[in-house]
């Protein structure tokens, strides 16, 4: 039984179709990557699952509950976390206030203290800077804060939207290590990335999204050695 089952999703922006007939599944404790070029519909897919965009067709089922058409805060309540693209921290709030804001889902409120300790344990840098305004952090620190804030909501599935975007190479490596670490700790992960090599390396399974359609599916390793992927995304 998959933790997340997405079937036959169509999404439009006005007349433009962003997703057509997209289906995928994620089993508990898996890392599933979605790779594809800019504009292929990767972010749209995450945002559709999260209920930020309304789909025209298709179903989203999480842990046997049909969440199609749910508003985004209800989707958070059921245990789906979302680390949005571009490190959207609250710039004028402190690190601590940002983290507290992450404990918004009902089930997370009672455990705020433990969650905070857990996050500070994962990212000691955030503990050091807890009183600092989030907008003054470096790009890598902001990304850690965005991830930490998401974890404060105690999700079972975390969807990462381009976590490596715009970060220095050393920090990018660190980001992928963090994703793997979270997975080893028991989280299920949906990873949307332009960094095809790195994400296929850590993913158990992956989908290739092109022009709003799933074109390929397979294990991370298999896709890494797939000719089409190598040609189109790795330039080999």
């Amino acid at each position: 039984m998959s933790l997340l089952q997405v079937s036959e999703i169509d999404l439009y922006y006005g007349d433009a179709q962003a997703l057509s007939g997209v289906g995928l599944h994620i089993d508990a404790r898996e890392i599933v990557a979605i790779v594809g070029a800019n504009g292929a519909g990767k972010s749209s897919l995450i945002r559709a699952i999260h209920g930020i965009h309304r789909t025209a067709r298709g179903r989203v089922v999480f842990d046997s509950t049909d969440i199609t058409g749910w508003t985004s805060h209800r989707v958070c309540e059921i245990g789906i976390g979302h680390v949005a693209e571009g490190r959207q921290v609250f710039p004028n709030l402190t690190v601590l206030e940002n983290l507290e804001m992450g404990a918004t889902p009902r089930h997370a409120r009672a455990h705020e203290k433990q969650s905070l300790e857990h996050v500070y344990g994962l990212f000691p840098r955030l503990a050091e800077r807890r009183g600092q305004a989030a907008g003054t952090l470096s790009g890598g620190e902001q990304q850690m804060l965005a991830i930490g804030r998401c974890l404060m909501g105690r999700p079972r599935l975390v969807m990462f939207d381009e976590p490596s975007l715009g970060l220095a190479p050393a920090i990018v490596q660190e980001m992928f290590r963090i994703v793997r670490r979270l997975n080893e700790d028991g989280l299920t992960i949906l990873l949307v990335e332009q960094n095809v090599t790195a994400s296929l390396k850590i993913a158990h399974r992956a989908y290739v999204l092109e022009n709003g359609r799933i074109e390929l599916e397979g294990s991370g390793e298999a896709l890494l050695s797939n000719d089409r992927v190598r040609q189109a995304y790795l330039g080999l």
């Binding site: 805060h73 979302h82 680390v83 949005a84 921290v89 609250f90 710039p91 804001m101 918004t104």
Partner: protein, 322 residues
Amino acid sequence: MSRITPRVMGGLAILLALLLVAPALLGGYGLSVLILVLYFAYVGQAWNIMMGFAGQLSLGHALYAGLGGYMAAGLYFHYGIGPWAGMFVGVAAAVAAAAVVGYLGFRFSLAGVYFALLTIAFAEFTRIGFDNWPWTGESGGMFLRVERGVTDVANLRGGPVLFYYVILFLAVAAFVLCRLLLESRLGRYWLAIREDAEAAQAVGVPVLKCKMLAVTISAALTALAGVWNAFYYNNLFPETAFAMGRSIEITLAPIIGGLGTLFGPFVGAVVLTGLGEIFTAVGDKLDIPGIKQVFYGLALLVIVMYRPAGIWPWLAARLGIK
């Protein structure tokens, strides 16, 4: 959120005590100025909930004040129903209008100036509607009967002292309400939305619901100001009740005083009303038509240039509060 320290509490208590005895100390002119200060502090506080707390710019708040005023005044004028009952109808009308404006704007993700344009549009076509609605007296206006020397609290008929205490009560109540709102979960969600609405949505803040609450609470409070205004001035015209200028003047005190702050609307109202009175006096002396507006405009420019975050944050730092 900064704590209210004993020192601030003491200052507030002294201020409140002074305001309570003010009618005994001030002459008619002084009282009328203080009434204006409290009115702008109150209505500014109401507007500040939307813009200062939740980050949603409304340039059409005259709509809510006008609806509140017209409903309560109309019920009194036509059926003799007093404003203490009529205000509920006024508030309901304003909340309904706010719900429509808010839903259209927020559901379809209009933000910033585009949302502001929507608020202006609603105020404008309501004005046109009221210009042609016989029940409101159309463009000729609606007038409430004035009987000199009669004080009738049940129907809110009386002199300046009565209106002074009503607006003082409203201003204090709004201040306390805003303080509670800022401390509440809803207040924190508004803060998140103001900071970054998309990020707020990503962490599970019910963005649409919180924005709707901001616009409807703000409209309800503004409607009460409209009821007070209608009975204080005893006349209503669509041309002024729903005017763009009325909407703008509601926004000035919180902007000058400090957006999103509790004390900003009051400080802004004191400064603006004070400047207005001074420039009126200077204008009369100089006897140059329109010079008051020029001075007033220049003063606003200077304040916004040198204190872009408003006077209160600067003043608070000076006083060692915060």
